[in-house]
Symmetry: C2
Subunit: 373 residues, 2 copies
Amino acid sequence: MRGNNCDRSPAASIRDVARAAGVSHQTVSRVINESPNVSGPTREAVLATIAQLGFRPNRAARALAGGPVQSVTVLASNTSRYGFAAALEGVEEATREVGFGMGFRAVDALSPADMRDAVEAAIEPAGALIVIAFDTAGALALECVPPEVPTVAMIQAPAAGTVPIRPSAWIDEFAAAKEATEYLLALGHKTVHHLAIPSWFSAPPPRLEGWLAALKEAGIKAPKAVLGGWTSDWGYEAGLQLAKDPSVTAVLCGNDDIALGAMGAMREAGRGVPADVSIIGFDDIPYARFFSPPLTTVRQDFKALGKVCFAKLLELSNSNRTIPGLEPPQAQLIIRESAGPPPEGPPGAHAKSSPNAGPTIDRADTTRLNTSD
Amino acid sequence: MRGNNCDRSPAASIRDVARAAGVSHQTVSRVINESPNVSGPTREAVLATIAQLGFRPNRAARALAGGPVQSVTVLASNTSRYGFAAALEGVEEATREVGFGMGFRAVDALSPADMRDAVEAAIEPAGALIVIAFDTAGALALECVPPEVPTVAMIQAPAAGTVPIRPSAWIDEFAAAKEATEYLLALGHKTVHHLAIPSWFSAPPPRLEGWLAALKEAGIKAPKAVLGGWTSDWGYEAGLQLAKDPSVTAVLCGNDDIALGAMGAMREAGRGVPADVSIIGFDDIPYARFFSPPLTTVRQDFKALGKVCFAKLLELSNSNRTIPGLEPPQAQLIIRESAGPPPEGPPGAHAKSSPNAGPTIDRADTTRLNTSD
DNA sequence: CTGAAAGCGCTTACAG
DNA sequence: CTGAAAGCGCTTACAG
């Protein structure tokens, strides 16, 4: 009583379909692989039989026989940090749409030798790889991938003035960090401090570079950036240090986790946000708008980035299918309430009129929550 | 110049190993499958050759040939919500330790017919399934799994007085919710309200049942629970409603996301947390201790639960391997600062002495952050 | 305890 | 455009 083709016999094979359709199993193979060398009527008949029998090609057999790539394994240092989880979801959705399988393997805190083993172990014979190389572990994993394995990397940015070794996708974080910094300056802050995520490969993170560029363009000598962590814990500790310096009135944080920790530190040090110190984050995690105060941050669509990576992988593989959407998503400054004019008051009417509000600034949910502070 | 066996020829097969070791390929098969029917010396020799050649069994071939289960696919409605992501990490880690592959497939918001197709599509020929059935989508997916597929479910709890259809694992959320409610009552609150996560299968969520049980035991008529969401958005809306009622002084929330939204709503309504209203969450997401105020909540170790599920799967499958750790993790009340005595003041010395502090109460990070509110 | 046989479900060439 | 052959890398029985 379960409806459609659910009382399934052992599962139809390609030969079952061939027999039922009165063709050879090779012809069935051609149909499911979208070979052009099948006549219209034959194709129709086979397709009908496939539907009727509920036939589904056996991925293991296809892989074994040397068929085209049908599955992707995502390599990443973790699954629960927002950017990683969202990217994973994007890849999953994209693979599902075209019938690919998706695997996942964590690769964290490994010595180079162990990493090589881990990466080797993660490679399925006929499989492809998407490596989330935002952090050191991911970057190392990427370096360990044998050249013949179809691979696309999700990165922070290509090294300055170079083309990435592997096909890669990234969000323009440089521009986004620059814009966020400019926003703070336009608010009237004399300078902007930066709590940076760790270095990527051997270069500084693009978020840091964008911050630097904005200060430089404004003729401001950049304060020393604080480098180092991804977590709220780290942001809290680093924030405690910054809080001691009364000249700190604006802080761009490398991500929202750091921003959350930093806001806590400021509060604890008796410095109001944004009354005394403005804080801007990066990523726009779903919780950000519920922080206290709601966090002004740079939204990054990692899910879309995940889809872009998979699209690149399809394009790259021998598959004749391609899917649209190879353009990486744009970052977007989301203005909420954690950034405002410096305590001395705005030097003009700047603060009120949302300075530097380009087309990528979204005020949609600005007034969503009001804090009672 | 890359060190160990990295300049790999096409990848060694079982026959390459057999040839090099001077045995038949079946013997190699026996060795890698840990069959007892191999003499000590033969096994040693084969093992040595395997190491030397860097042989790694082809998972697709093993699956095709009808070997034991070597990979697991996790089915879940999403990847980015904390509990789901953490559980996924637990499964990944456990699979990796024993050389299993891990796949992931999202199954959300599908009609029963589409869900059936989606689940069928996710099943690899020789694969097993772990279904995260915390929510409706997951529960539906679980129902759609053909009986012959090795499957373990992660659930909220078995239906009252029944044994789950499938091997399952869960955390005792009933007891945890009861304890959290008792904690609030002991703090002096006349009653406790509840913002519940959605119903599970056709029964109320155990978190709600535990809350109810605590009130009942205390002889308190339970206020109407507010049922319905998982998100901060929902918690915010529901919190706004509760805030209107001056008799509300304590709210147990179905998860931390809801608690975050509810705290925002209270603040917006001019009701201080915990001065006017105490809030307790559920899950202990990593951000919880950085909320403002730091959130008192019930910690659940979903990662450990993921490992338990995989252990059960191993036990269940024809594999002769088992791994320890079939005991689900215990929930734990983490006391921070979002809950305190009711505004009228504590009716006795209760509030100060951390009432009902059983061995599962952890005050370790209680003083981690102080809000300036 | 060990090897020779047959086959898992598919795919590539190779013939027509 | 279509079919008969051979094989992907492994595993089950089946013999010894």
